[in-house]
């Protein structure tokens, strides 16, 4: 009986996920074929997908391991710059580095996009490994401020004159190859998301959750706290770096101010709205926030109704709404849209079954 229901669960969820993937591919193919018409929709979808990877990576370390890390922008910057430096077409490099020139070693160093993106993740993971050794021993709030500090250091280093020949300093990089189609973006992001889901659901993922729930209890059942934290931090940074590389491709030009603290806060907004500790929450949240930010653009435009200028509508109103939304979620729906739960067919089934049960009970009582 138990085995049966387990099997059923796996099958249904697998079917659901496969279904989602197939439907998404179909929709994206359709959009790609009519690119000119749907260019705006495609851009929103690509951005959402990239942020879904970033949010899920943050959720892995913050929601599942309980380490409040605010270094997302820094790791994304590392990934983005690595990807950009390795993929900008060689013949265009003199134009990009028109001020100071490029380091001779990098001049002809070029990789195919997927490898460059993965290398971006590796660089981010390597830095995470190094700084993780000292700072993961810190308690929650100190960890938050230390990672935030790391992110600022990265930004300062990238923008500094000493890095001119590598990162082009304050001028930033452009001519980064864009996604050839939204399917390409979908493939990269869905591989990352599936990989992260598999990790979170593996026994390592359960170690993460054990640490989140109770560090001392986790230690007493034989989990190596430090190693596990470090692993979670490094893996999360790897995927954050990849999302940074994808963001660079999405934006096609980056500079150090792209990776300010605000970027971290944007990712945090997605994670909190979607629900800390919910995989599907982060993904849904990414689409919700990104699409919402775009679709609410009209809030930033002056609005005239019947000849009267509505006073509230002016630049910046959109972000005020989002900050209020964040506060409302934190204060009143502390668990976010989905809480620690996941969206799944089984969930729906259980929910409807519960309703049925209730119906029967009520019926019986009367």
């Amino acid at each position: 009986m138990l085995k049966n229901s387990f099997k059923e669960k796996i099958n249904i969820n697998l079917l659901l996920y496969l279904g989602i993937i197939v439907v998404s591919v179909l929709i994206l193919t359709f959009l790609d074929m009519n690119k000119r018409e749907y260019i705006y929709a495609i851009s929103i979808i690509e951005r959402s997908l990239v942020f879904a990877v970033a949010a899920l990576a943050m959720n892995m370390v913050t929601g599942f391991t309980g380490l409040f890390s605010l270094g997302q922008a820094g790791f994304m910057a590392l990934g983005a710059y690595t990807t950009a430096i390795l993929t900008i077409p060689v013949e265009l490099r003199p134009n990009v580095y028109y001020m100071e020139g490029i380091l001779p070693a990098l001049e002809n160093l070029s990789f195919p996009i997927p490898i460059a993106v993965i290398l971006g993740g590796v660089v981010a993971a390597f830095f995470a490994f190094l700084i993780g050794i000292p700072i993961l021993r810190l308690k929650s709030d100190y960890l938050a401020i230390a990672t935030l500090g790391f992110s600022e250091i990265m930004r300062a280093v990238i923008a500094s004159h000493m890095m001119d020949k590598i990162t082009n300093g304050a001028y930033g990089l452009n001519n980064i190859p864009e996604f050839s189609s939204s399917i390409e973006c979908f493939i990269y992001t869905s591989i990352c998301i599936i990989a992260m889901i598999l990790i979170i659901n593996s026994s390592t993922g359960r170690d993460f959750k054990a640490i989140r729930e109770d560090e001392i209890a986790a230690r007493s059942v034989g989990i190596n706290i430090f190693k596990t934290k470090e692993l979670s931090f490094v893996v999360s940074s790897f995927f954050t770096g990849i999302s940074g590389g994808l963001l660079a491709m999405y934006m096609s030009s980056i500079n150090s101010s792209t990776f300010q603290i605000t970027l971290t806060y944007d990712v945090l907004l997605i994670v909190v709205l979607g629900g800390i500790g919910s995989i599907t929450g982060s993904i849904v949240g990414a689409f919700f926030v990104t699409a919402g930010k775009e679709l609410l653009r009209f809030f930033d435009e002056p609005l005239t109704v019947a000849g009267v200028n509505v006073p509230l509508f002016k630049p910046g109103f959109r972000m005020v709404i989002f900050s209020i939304l964040l506060m409302v979620v934190v204060l009143f729906f502390r668990k976010g849209l989905l809480g620690g739960k996941e969206l799944s067919l089984n969930g729906f089934k259980k929910y409807s079954r519960k309703k049925e049960d209730k119906g029967i009970q009520v019926g019986g009582a009367s």
Binding site: T62, I145, F150, I216, M319, M327
Partner: protein
């Protein structure tokens, strides 16, 4: 030599402002165990309060309005964003603090536009004074004096008065303090009021020297001052004073040497080194985790 002197004075002056903000962090952290991410933005809002009240009122009134409005803002934030989360896990409170910071930044962008607004020149403060060979503005000179007077007053408040005793009790043990009949909410509100008031004073001194305010002008000073508070030992007022001066002076020296891109990074390197070597800071008390 004269330029060197000038840098030293600037450093001490900036350090004084940092110290005033750092005390706000230290007080709040001491009581709620919360990094008040919004503190830097309260400091920024104080700048805007000054700009707008100065446009209407003569400067002594404008200063009083700024101080009162900032204090009220601090209390309001505590009431709405932090007090509902007393029993919540620490991460929620921290996210709430980030949310307030995000809100204040976006709100001020919305209300006052993202462009820097000119900060009014308070009569007399910008006057140049010759000190030996160095020419410094009067505010540079006044800041450390004001800071030290305020710190002395604050130490008296915390150590000698009844409310100060309540503050110390709450920071030592939350529950026991409330069992002893200390009004928890009043004490916490009072702490936020004091912290915000100091941020307002710091803001007036800081922006007079910089002459413009924009929505993100509180973010980085805020983080630096938190580092200053950690450096001196969180929870300790003399520690925050020392940390503020240390960060201010070393930052100015780094800028003077020509590494200004790294002046911000330097602050965080100090933080990371300090947290590894002596996590309790210079004057901090050791805390023991209990199961």
């Amino acid at each position: 030599m004269s330029t060197f002197l000038q840098y030293v004075f600037t450093g001490i002056s900036v350090g004084g402002c940092y110290a005033l903000i750092a005390i706000g962090y230290t007080l709040v952290y001491g009581i709620l165990r919360l990094i008040n991410f919004a503190h830097g933005d309260i400091f920024m809002m104080a700048g805007y309060f000054m700009i707008f009240s100065f446009a209407v009122f003569p400067f002594p009134v404008a200063i009083i309005i700024t101080l009162v409005a900032t204090t009220a803002l601090g209390i309001l934030i505590e009431k709405f964003a932090y007090s509902p989360l007393r029993q919540a896990p620490r991460m929620s409170v921290m996210i709430s603090a980030i949310g307030v910071s995000y809100l204040l930044q976006n709100l001020s962008t919305y209300l006052f536009s993202g462009l820097p607004q000119p900060y009014p020149a308070i009569p007399g403060l910008k006057q140049r004074v010759m000190l030996g060979d160095a020419s410094v503005s009067l505010v540079t000179f006044i800041t450390p004096i004001v800071t030290i007077i305020i710190v002395l007053l604050l130490l008296r408040l915390v150590n000698k008065t009844k409310i100060g005793m309540a503050m110390r009790a709450v920071s030592k043990d939350y529950e026991a303090a409330s069992l002893m009949g200390i009004k928890l909410n009043t004490t916490i509100s009072f702490t936020f009021a004091v912290g915000s008031l100091l941020a307002a004073v710091g803001s007036i001194l800081y922006f007079t020297d910089r002459s413009s305010v924009y929505p993100f002008s509180g973010a980085l000073p805020g983080l630096k001052c938190f580092v200053a508070a950690v450096f001196g030992g969180i929870g300790s007022i003399p520690g925050a004073l020392l940390g503020g001066f240390f960060i201010g002076i070393s930052e100015t020296i780094i800028k003077a040497v020509g590494l200004s891109t790294f002046s911000d990074a330097f602050t965080f390197i100090i933080l990371i080194i300090m947290l590894i070597v002596k996590p309790t800071g210079l004057f901090g008390e050791k805390s023991v985790d209990k199961v």
